[in-house]
């Protein structure tokens, strides 16, 4: 059964000044599946992710060629509303990025900026998404405390709730379990498996076992080149490219 692709990357090139960071990348990211992007440090995974929601625009001195389609609209086209595009995607960072406000306001942030003013509705949303990430029980008595007081694991789940409250279609995770203890990491992983039913998930990860546990589809990048992509079972059990083989077997983890 062939899934529809949600994000299509076509001949994407990214340059920082004269450095060629992503080289002629063409990927199809399937809808309502978990796609893992793996590859050694510095190969351009974060850069690729930031192209999807155009956070890359914030960088000075960056040049792009090629196209990215989300739901078949070209996101780099001038007529594309960046705000609408970003609203479609929730993004989790390596380290949880808490906004300097209360737990409640963090979750309500997205709905508020997109125009929701009704306090009753906001409260419902906050409760619903905090329950969704199993944080509600832990924080329901201190919703109006500063979110900075939460543990890092709780913060990352809060960030997930904040992203989901925006009702995205796509969840982007840039090594979202990087800063977490094993138990918190497991909570996030489990959540991702549940979310797969309703969201398209793109997960950058360094942890091969995590990719094996979660991924339906795997993209392997190496030094800005797309080396291999395909369904997870195929790539993991039967990698076609020799670079993929050695990466999967734990060789040349350090690369210049």
């Amino acid at each position: 059964m062939e899934a529809k692709s949600h994000i299509k990357v076509r001949n994407l090139n990214v340059y920082y000044g004269s450095a060629h960071i992503l080289k002629d990348i063409t990927i199809d990211i399937p809808e309502k599946k978990i796609t893992a992007i793996i590859g050694p440090s510095g190969c351009g995974k974060t850069t690729l992710l930031k192209c999807f929601n155009r956070l890359i625009d914030l960088q000075d001195n960056v040049m792009l060629t090629g196209q990215v389609f989300v739901d078949d609209t070209d996101i780099f086209d001038n007529s594309t509303e960046v705000i609408q595009l970003r609203k479609k995607m929730g993004l989790l960072f390596q380290k949880p990025q808490i906004l300097p406000m209360s737990i409640y306001d963090n979750v309500a942030y997205g709905p508020r900026i997109h125009g929701l003013k009704n306090n009753k509705k906001l409260s419902e949303i906050v409760q619903h998404y905090l329950q969704e990430v199993s944080l509600w029980e832990e924080v329901k008595d201190r919703l109006h405390d500063s979110a900075a007081r939460l543990s890092v694991g709780q913060q990352q789940r809060l960030c997930l709730a904040r992203g989901l409250a925006n009702e995205p279609e796509i969840v982007l995770g840039d090594e979202p379990t990087y800063a977490l203890d094993p138990i918190s990491a497991e909570k996030i992983e489990k959540k991702f498996l549940e979310l797969r039913k309703n969201y398209t998930i793109v997960l950058v990860t360094h942890i091969l076992r995590q990719a094996k546990r979660l991924a339906d589809y795997v993209v392997f990048l190496y030094l800005g080149n797309l080396i291999e992509q395909g369904p997870a079972e195929e790539v993991f059990s039967n990698p076609r490219d020799s670079k993929t083989q050695s990466y999967l077997s734990g060789q040349f983890i350090t690369s210049a």
Partner: protein, 307 residues
């Protein structure tokens, strides 16, 4: 080993002594001012000294009210102008200006901070005073004939001129500090907000400014404390006449520092004159301290709420 311990001890002692020295200077200034001011406090009631606007030393009238009120006027005007303008400038500089522009503007602003107050005073006389007397004052005196604008002083030398010059003087330091503070806000939380579909302004207002708020308040305190004591530039443009309490931004003002600088040293023959002027200095010190305490109180309150 022993020599190292010894050195450590010596350094520690020296620094302790220096620290005591600095603090004792402050102590002696306060005590000295109070001691010198006490003769007048023994003769005139504090109420007369603080609230009367009649300053006529040769007749024995030493009302400081006019000067106190003038100081408040000029500082308040400076605050009202400096706070929004410096905040918006710093925001533009940090969040919006292209990198190259920022690299040109930042040193220029730092340069402004180093210019001598006299130059600001001259600029005030050449540019601000005529601007007020020719345009601002006629405009307001016809249209807004009520409280803070109603005045019969058409010279342009006024509390407003003093406030404007003062605000421009404290501008650079406030902008500079706010800029530094905004730069410490991690890029990632801006990204987190933008990634949720917030615009740049929403991100700045709701996230960056929120995160930087204690630092921004500290920047204002730093700048405005300087404004309180600033003498030269204000003295040159505020009018400094003894026409009773200023009741309008266009009235002349005669702030405490200007009084002290203008009169100290030339009034030794009149009894109690120097005592009165030193009382003025003491009051200025108290006002500045009070302002600082209130401001730091606000800062602590904000910080506690955020933690």
């Amino acid at each position: 080993m022993n020599r190292r311990r010894f050195k450590d001890l010596i350094v520690q002692r020296i620094m302790f002594i220096l620290c005591c020295f600095v603090i004792s200077i402050l102590f002696f200034i306060v005590m000295g001012l109070f001691y010198k001011a006490s003769p007048i406090l023994a003769i005139h009631s504090l109420r007369d000294l603080l609230f009367s606007s009649t300053w006529h030393p040769s007749k024995g009238n030493f009302g400081l009210g006019l000067f106190i009120v003038s100081t408040l006027w000029v500082t308040a005007i400076a605050i009202v102008i400096a706070i929004p303008l410096s905040l918006l400038t710093a925001i533009y500089l940090t969040e919006y200006a292209p990198k190259r522009m920022r690299e040109v503007l930042k040193p220029l602003i730092d340069l402004l901070a180093g210019i001598s107050p006299v130059i600001y005073g001259v600029w005030g006389i050449i540019a601000i005073v005529p601007l007020i007397s020719d345009y601002v004052m006629p405009f307001f005196s016809e249209r807004l004939t009520f409280f803070p604008f109603l005045s019969d002083n058409y010279t342009g030398y006024s509390a407003l001129a003093g406030g404007i010059v003062l605000s421009v003087m404290v501008f650079p330091i406030i902008i500079s500090v706010i800029h530094e503070v905004l730069e410490t806000v991690p890029f990632e939380i801006r990204e987190a907000s933008l990634a949720l579909g917030a615009t740049k302004w929403e991100t700045t207002r709701r996230v960056v400014l929120k995160k930087a708020r204690p630092g921004i308040v500290a920047a204002f305190i730093l700048g405005l404390t300087r404004a309180f004591g600033e003498t030269m530039a204000v003295l040159m443009v505020a009018g400094c006449s003894l026409h009773g309490f200023p009741k309008s931004v266009f009235d002349t003002a005669y702030p405490l520092p200007a009084l002290i600088a203008n009169t100290y040293g030339e009034m030794m023959s009149i009894p109690l004159y120097d005592s009165a002027v030193l009382l003025a200095a003491f009051i200025l010190l108290l006002m500045t301290t009070l302002f600082n305490m209130v401001a730091w109180g606000i800062l602590l309150h904000i910080e506690r709420k955020e933690r």
